[in-house]
């Protein structure tokens, strides 16, 4: 099967209908293994049991960036190749990416609570993730604001690519801003060296979350394709039959 075949939405629907059960099963199994490994991982000698938040936080943070990369690739598909599935992929990914980013923020602030004593610290990494979250929300607002999906797709594609170029600049600026005000960060997330006891559960969880994203994304794309079909059917229905019904004698109207 080539990419051209997949480009056909009907083909995509029938293929993914067969694929989706395996994806769901894979997600469940991987998440179960990952959660078991996380639960049985030892406590950190400094952070205690709170270190286990890392097993949820890091995969979410990784996906928050990965989803933007997926949307950027889709944006290229929309702008350069006008691939019929590209804007569907981009639109379906945005709310999922926003959810992962939101979870990264929540778990980050829960993790920070025992370290900082507050739920929120304007730490360079967390702040960058917060800006990424705002950009996801802006993108979703753009999708919602324009009724015609084709026009919204092009605007969103431009915004996504501009965002992809800007994100490193924002990240750099925030780091600079943060070090300017706080010479040494109290607490670095993720740490530089990880013990093996932490590394394996983290890797499994990262893979599990990635598969979870793929499953959700495929399901959301199917919904979006069906939603667009409903829309074009409704438009056809609106166009149809107006004339012949309108011809029924106007004299029959209530006076």
């Amino acid at each position: 099967m080539t990419l051209i075949d997949l480009a056909n939405p009907s083909r995509f629907l029938s293929l993914t209908a067969r694929l989706l059960p395996y994806l769901v099963a894979g997600t469940v199994v991987l998440l179960a293994i990952g959660l078991y490994l996380s639960a049985t991982a030892p406590d950190d000698y400094q952070q205690g049991a709170t270190v286990k938040i890392m097993f949820i936080h890091v995969p979410n943070a990784w996906l928050s960036m990965f989803v933007w990369a997926v949307m950027s690739a889709s944006a290229l598909g929309t702008l350069v190749w006008r691939h019929p599935l590209a804007d569907v992929a981009a639109k379906a990914a945005a709310p999922i990416g926003a959810s992962f980013t939101f979870l990264a923020l929540v778990t980050g602030s829960l993790w920070g609570r025992p370290m900082w004593g507050t739920y929120w610290e304007w730490d360079a990494r967390l702040t960058s993730v917060l800006i990424l979250f705002l950009m996801y929300l802006g993108l979703m607002a753009l999708w919602r604001a324009v009724e015609d999906p084709a026009r919204a797709a092009r605007a969103a594609a431009v915004l996504t690519l501009v965002g992809a170029i800007n994100l490193p600049i924002i990240k750099f600026s925030v780091d600079w801003w943060n070090t300017l005000h706080q010479p040494a960060s109290v607490f670095r997330m993720g740490g530089s060296t990880l013990d093996r006891a932490f590394l394996y559960p983290l890797l499994v969880m990262a893979i599990a979350f990635t598969v979870l994203f793929i499953t959700l994304h495929v399901a959301a794309m199917r919904n979006e394709i069906l939603r667009r079909r409903v829309r074009s059917l409704q438009m056809m229905q609106a166009r149809a039959a107006s004339n012949d019904v309108g011809a029924t004698s106007p004299a029959s109207q209530p006076a």
Binding site: S109, T118, Y119, W120, E121, W122, D123, T127, L130, I131, L134, L137, G138, A141, R144, A145, V146, E147, W177, N178, L180, H181, Q182
Partner: protein, 222 residues
């Protein structure tokens, strides 16, 4: 009564559906508040001290931004003509539109306040104080802002002109809103005094706003 209920229901459902701007106001509020630390520095004690002021400024700007469409959309598609001609007094129709706008765009700002308070390291008591003053004060912002929105639509100018017209009118609300929040958090002024004045401002604008807006719509349409 059916007419007013229908108007409120319609405006709220338009604001919440595709293309509606209700939640964009909240996003704007969030963005404005997030911008502040980049200008002030990530200094939590400083942000905590300025928190109520930052939240009030953000809410003021967000409610102003969404006011722009209050009458413009109805003017562009001709609905405003029919509302002016209708048997419902125009003052009541204006009040209903402003109420719908506050429910769809003002109330979400108040709901978002606790989350934003977290970002500014406000404690539970301070956040509730700010949310309470916003609840009492944002109706004043909407109902005085409505006057500017009505003027802007009759002059065929929106956006910046509206901001220039409305912002000076909202200075008293800002003064007493922030003062009441500060009083609740640190004193030394008792909370009741500025808060009562804030409520009074809202009640006055509830009366003055619809009359002024209806007058400018009635004389300015062409």
């Amino acid at each position: 009564m059916t007419a007013l209920a229908a108007l409120i229901r319609r405006d709220i459902s338009i604001a919440l559906r595709v293309g509606g701007g209700a939640l964009i106001g909240v996003l704007f509020f969030l963005t404005v508040v997030v911008l502040m630390p980049f200008a002030l520095g990530p200094d939590l004690p400083l942000l905590t001290r300025l928190g109520p002021a930052i939240l009030w400024l953000g809410a003021l700007l967000a409610s102003l931004l969404t006011l722009d469409r209050l009458f413009t959309a109805d003017h562009e598609d001709g609905s405003l003509d029919l509302i002016v001609m209708g048997r419902t007094p125009l003052e009541l129709a204006c009040a209903a539109k402003a109420l719908a706008h506050w429910l769809a765009a003002g109330l979400p700002l108040i709901v978002a306040t606790p989350v934003l308070g977290l970002l500014l390291n406000l404690d539970m008591a301070a956040t509730s104080a700010v949310a309470l003053t916003l609840l009492a004060g944002t109706p004043a912002l909407t109902f005085t802002g409505m006057i500017g929105a009505a003027l802007a639509v009759t002059l065929h100018r929106g956006g910046l002109l509206l901001a220039v017209l409305v912002l000076p009118l909202s200075i008293p609300v800002l003064i007493f809103g922030v003062a009441a929040s500060e009083a609740a958090i640190s004193g030394p002024v008792p909370f009741g005094a500025p808060f009562s004045i804030l409520c009074a401002l809202s009640l006055v604008s509830l009366v003055v706003g619809p009359f002024a807006a209806a007058a400018s719509l009635r004389h300015g349409l062409d």
